[in-house]
Point group: C2
Amino acid sequence: MTRRAQLVGTGLIGGSIGLALRTAGWHVTGSDRNGASAARALELGAIDAVGDDADAELTFVATPVGTVADVARGRSGVVTDVGSVKASIVAAVANPQFVGGHPMAGSEQEGVDGSRADLFQGAVWVLTPVATTDHAAHALVRSVVSSFGAEVVELPPERHDALVAVVSHVPHLTAASLMRLAAERSEEHAALLRLAAGGFRDMTRIAAGHPGIWPDICIENQGAITEVLDLLIGELTAMRHRVETADRAGLLDALSRARSARLNLPGRVAATAEVAEVRVPVPDRPGVLAEITTLASELGVNIHDLEIAHSSEGDAGVLLLLVDATLVERFIGGLVARTYKATARSLE
Amino acid sequence: MTRRAQLVGTGLIGGSIGLALRTAGWHVTGSDRNGASAARALELGAIDAVGDDADAELTFVATPVGTVADVARGRSGVVTDVGSVKASIVAAVANPQFVGGHPMAGSEQEGVDGSRADLFQGAVWVLTPVATTDHAAHALVRSVVSSFGAEVVELPPERHDALVAVVSHVPHLTAASLMRLAAERSEEHAALLRLAAGGFRDMTRIAAGHPGIWPDICIENQGAITEVLDLLIGELTAMRHRVETADRAGLLDALSRARSARLNLPGRVAATAEVAEVRVPVPDRPGVLAEITTLASELGVNIHDLEIAHSSEGDAGVLLLLVDATLVERFIGGLVARTYKATARSLE
């Protein structure tokens, strides 16, 4: 018997869930408020049919966060969602067959065209079962999500919301605030924003994202966001005091602790993969990136992630590559042979 | 007659100035509080001799910002510096032969070993002459700095300090504050920092920098930094109010303005170069980066800059490449032929 699933919302996340389900052999029916998006999902093979499926064993609600509770409430069978806020949704749905979920995956491309069957491979997928959640419903969602290659992390809904306020929602509001400040301040002489070097660009990059999703998120996660904003304002006020009182020791201490916390930020790849960071200062000449990435390919070194770290001032960069720890020596050997000043750092 | 210059401080910036001066035919004498650094600068060809040169026509002071005024005060001839704060230094030196300067260049590698003769090529180099500055001294510094390939921007010292507070100093303190908050909040369960996706990583990256230079910078630029911190705290308080009062329209408006300011942030390359941005969603398979960068090389497309933009959540990325506007169509053609979903955006 083919297992049947249903998808409400066929954007990037919904489409990717459809592709992953169909890869695993499920029959997937899907709908979207925007009919064109559902039709496109069908065309791309993310769903088998457009519409509703009363016999679906499992329903994924992948609609904007403000509409999840309303959509989820009327459904029969096991229901889960992908909203980036959990406590308000879990409370509003109040159904033992509902298991709150939040895959930490997604890209800037929000439409179904960016969908990929492997979008969740290695990603963290938070589930937020509560005391009243049905055990079988919880087990079903957990096993299906795991089958997508995601790493399931279980948290109480409130704890999830507090954490995403810290690592996602407040950083977004802060990036926007910094950008607004810089834009206002440079009005007299816009070209001077060219003084904004790599560090500032890194800090404000997320502010370039589509703002449409944020009012809903901010309001659904109101409590956690205002609390974390208060803490951030408190931290900044303490920094201001250290600057104003010329407290060198306090500044050094605060920045040193921040530095060590940042250096210990766990890597983006699955914890099981042993990776190390390779640092290569990038000379300003054509073909350098091609040479380095091709060398990695030739040596069989898989690049898990790559970024150019800019300093607070200036644009010269250091290329940071995350590669398998076992192949670091080989890669460094190749880089040095091509006269790059490469160094390695383990991420323990 | 060989022109003679002198360098005090042979770190990354001093060493690069030495290399650039020697490339232009100058005789360069250099010293450093750290004798080993001066010896290494000699070894690397960044200076001709270790020591002081009483006959130097021009002295570059490239010491940490807290010591610049003391070092600059005793010198004869034309003197300039590279400190990242200007008003306090210009006032303390109070010498018509002194021209304050600040090259917006530098990398994470702080030692002389990272020095490059072309470090300043295309970089902005701010000069801060004041009413009492000698015209000939100003003209000399301006012409030498321009000969390094830098683009000279002239600003009153206070204006420079206010701008770097906005685009560099306060962002650094903010990144550190966000990182401290996240580290504290995740103490119970450190692995949950893995929820921190690309956006958070981008925002806190500069907090990983060496903190040693910051106490001096903060104290030298006390006034501008506290003022900008107050403005940022004000912005965040306004954001908090919008969240607390569920002001959807206000949030959307604030974030939309921030977005458009970020999208209009001038590019990092010299204004004269016509560049455009190419966006390529990066599938998660080995060799992709090599394929894209090699294709660029094959097509003669020079990559001015490259970054992976992460969304606020999740790790999937879009590769952003800055390339010559005239070659965008050719590059897009090649990318699409290799089945990448590439799109272009002009940066006007």
